[in-house]
């Protein structure tokens, strides 16, 4: 805290507020952060679902979710699915898989995932 923090209050952007909240939430899990995540190697990362997208991918629909832990984002793709029970906005998720670049995005295809308990439960 301190005077500077006090003065900064209200001047933060909403993105900053969100990442602050997410850092606090996922920091205590002591996992590899999305910012430091190695590419092309099996890794366990965690984050909250920020965006969901259902899109036709090569003819079959796929669910794409973007998760963020406050330090960075990754897009997780579950191909062949239209809906996955339990996967919804603001849900915490631990995924383990291999990340690669697709354009400017970092993408993980069909990782194993674990749902974290949602805040209300």
């Amino acid at each position: 805290m301190g005077i500077r923090n006090y003065l900064n209050r209200g001047s933060q952007t909403k993105d900053e507020l969100v990442s602050e909240r997410l850092c606090a939430k996922f920091g205590e899990l002591h996992m590899v952060t999305l910012a430091d995540m190695p590419m092309r190697r099996r890794v366990d990362v965690c984050g909250e679902i920020r965006r969901m997208s259902v899109k036709p991918r090569a003819g079959i629909s796929a669910v794409e979710v973007e998760i963020s832990d406050g330090t960075g984002e990754i897009t997780v793709i579950f191909s062949g699915r239209e809906r996955i029970p339990g996967i919804g906005h603001n849900r915490g998720l631990i995924v383990s898989g291999v990340a690669h670049f697709e354009g400017k995005r970092r993408v993980m295809l069909n990782p194993a995932y674990r749902l974290l308990p949602s805040p209300g439960q």
Binding site: R51, M52, V54, K55, P56, E82, R83, H89, G103
Partner: protein, 627 residues
């Protein structure tokens, strides 16, 4: 009967039609020019109105400030002769200006053409300020005269001023011809009553031995007993006060295009006629005042104006002729404002075309007048009147400085032009113009010197400020022009087309919007929805998959309930995934009647307004009209 068509006008346009009249076509322009006899009152009322107070101003300097007593009256006529000579020189210069620059704009154009940018801006600024002051000062002066005649009106001074400004503004919005026809009778009435006063007065003085006005009051005797010798300073001060009679003679040269064809010839003749009326009546009044010896003090202890005192003595009391003269004077003082309305909008349009003022001032309105300029003038004058509580005497010196700055710059410009072109008998013309420029410069300097503390310092602040504003506006327009310049082989800054459809739920409007978006053949098509909860998102995804299995749908939760901002950040992010994109945002929008539109969230409006400022973004609104 002409076939009736659907009335596409808005309610406002209909109301405007009722108030200012039906719009006039461009082709009718020639029919809405002024005949000389209508143009004379329009352009001359300002100049001629100054006869109502110029003599008085001179007398105040002599009697109160210089305290020379009776000697004041011996000096009236010499000063009048000097003013008339000055008038002849300036008018002569403006006649040449009219023929050389028949498109109007007066000293601004002359200076722009011959002296360069900054002199033209100085003269433009001083003329614009001057016209605003003309309106404020003349209306306030006329109202002051009315208030002093009818004491009960004093509390309504500001309201009366505003009402008159509104009236003149409104009449001018109806068109030049309409306002000219409306305001011509009072001007002619004043000219006639002034002529009658002078002729009857001189006849009675020289043939019926009418003596000076008897003065009995304490104040009057004190004024007459002044014995001081007249110094050059006060003589010059009196002369510069008398020179206010010249204010307003630049009006004709500024407004040449308002005249019937041939414009230059008609304008020039009107100018001559005006100069003759102004010169003879000012000279005649001075001679009459010399004989009848009216008095006036600075603080207004003598309530009657010099003109009223003269009329009372000449007509032998306060009879019908006296009152006609009085009312005609009120009329002309207020109508002097009308001259400014003929010129300010025209001058501001010329300056606006040169990109030194907002372009809107160059637009002609429904009635072929520069409506925006007229409204701007009315508003500016009203603000001045309100700010000064309807007593604007402090502004009069400022006004004289502006006028004489304009005269000086204009004549200097004409002098440079004559020397440059060397046309027939240029030497003679250049000589007179040069003398005129020097004289008006001398008057301007005199006014600044002798009236510096009375408010003549204000131009030193106002004019540079205005020039700063002009250049600021100009810099913007130049920048825009540079930016939009077409260069060889323009490469569009985008290669791929990305279309986002904003979606709230699956409904008829959204179906239309998606179909439209698909018809654009985008490289990337995406529906974006900002949802409130998971249930909402699940429901949307389910219905979406049924309706549009081939279109991707992105959903995201807005944690802070600010739809517009969230949409903007999402578009930012989606756009950032690919460079070389042009983004089209398709927004389905419900349009209902004006009566029920407020029942809908105006989120589409807010989003459109914000996206307008985003580069490389096209916003398309799909209207779903619900009758």
């Amino acid at each position: 009967m002409a076939p009736t068509t659907k009335d596409n006008r808005t309610g406002f346009a209909r109301l405007k039609g009722r108030l200012v009249g039906n719009p006039i076509a461009n082709t009718e322009d020639a029919h809405h020019r002024l005949k000389k006899l209508v143009a004379l009152p329009v352009f001359a009322s300002d100049a001629i109105s100054s006869t109502a107070y110029a003599t008085e101003e001179i007398l105040i300097v002599f009697l109160t400030m210089a305290a020379v007593g009776l000697a004041a009256f011996d000096n009236l006529v010499p000063i009048a002769i000097m003013v008339v000579i000055l008038l002849a020189i300036v008018v002569n210069s403006y006649r040449q200006t009219i023929h050389a620059y028949p498109h109007g704009g007066g000293s601004y154009i002359v200076a722009k053409d011959n002296l360069g940018k900054y002199p033209s801006l100085v003269s433009g600024a001083s003329m614009l300020v001057d016209y605003i002051l003309t309106v404020a000062v003349s209306v306030a002066g006329g109202v002051a005269a009315i208030v002093s005649a009818f004491n009960g009106l004093a509390p309504y001074r500001v309201a009366l001023c505003i009402a008159f400004i509104f009236l003149v503004t409104f009449a001018n919005l109806r068109g030049v011809r309409e306002s000219g026809a409306l305001f011509a009778p009072p001007t002619y009435l004043y000219i006639l009553s002034l002529a009658a006063l002078i002729l009857v007065g001189l006849y009675r003085v020289y043939f019926q031995d009418l003596g000076p006005i008897p003065h009995t009051g304490e104040v009057e005797r004190e004024l007459l007993e002044g014995q001081k010798a007249l110094t050059l300073f006060y003589f010059l001060k009196a002369f510069s006060s008398g020179a206010v009679a010249l204010t307003g003679i630049e009006a004709v040269a500024d407004g040449v295009p308002a005249f019937e064809k041939p414009e230059a010839r008609n304008a020039s003749q009107t100018l001559m006629l005006m100069a003759v009326i102004l010169g003879t009546s000012f000279f005649g009044l001075s001679v009459l005042a010399q004989q009848l010896q009216p008095l006036k003090d600075e603080e207004g202890k003598i309530r009657d104006t010099v003109l009223a005192q003269l009329a009372e003595q000449v007509y032998g009391g306060r009879n019908i002729f006296f009152f006609i003269t009085q009312f005609a004077t009120f009329g002309i003082l207020i109508l002097a404002a009308n001259t400014a309305y003929a010129d300010f909008p025209r001058l501001s349009s010329v300056i606006a075309k040169d990109s030194f003022l907002p372009r809107q001032l160059a637009n002609r309105g429904d009635r072929l007048v520069f409506s925006n300029g007229i409204i701007a003038l009315g508003v500016a004058a009203s603000v001045l009147v309100v700010a000064f509580g309807g007593i604007v005497n402090a502004l009069i010196p400022l006004y004289a400085v502006g006028v004489f700055t304009g005269f000086t710059i204009s004549q200097t410009g004409m002098f440079v032009r004559l020397v440059r072109l060397k046309e027939k008998s240029w030497l003679l013309k250049a000589f007179f113009t040069g003398v005129g420029a020097l004289t008006t410069l001398a008057v301007a300097l005199t006014v600044v010197t002798v009236k510096f503390t009375d408010g003549a310092w204000i131009p030193a602040v106002v004019i540079p400020t205005m020039i700063f504003i002009f250049t600021f506006i100009n810099r913007h327009y130049v920048r825009v022009r540079e930016f939009l310049k077409v260069v060889e082989q323009v490469v569009p800054p985008f290669r791929t087309h990305f279309v986002v459809v904003l979606v709230g739920s699956v409904n008829a409007g959204v179906v239309q919007a998606v179909k439209y978006a698909q018809s654009l053949n985008p490289d990337r098509l995406l529906a974006l929805s900002i949802v409130g909860s998971n249930e909402e998102s699940d429901e949307l995804q389910r219905t979406w998959a049924q309706s549009f299995p081939n279109v991707a749908l992105d959903t995201t939760v807005d944690d802070y309930r600010n739809l517009t901002e969230k949409v903007l950040t999402e578009i930012e992010r989606l756009d950032g995934l690919q460079s070389d994109d042009i983004v089209t945002v398709v927004i389905p929008e419900f349009v209902t009647s004006l009566r029920s539109q407020w029942l809908h969230n105006q989120s589409a409006l807010a989003i459109k307004a914000r996206l307008l400022f985003r580069p490389n973004t096209v916003v398309t609104s799909i209207p779903i009209v619900i009758p």
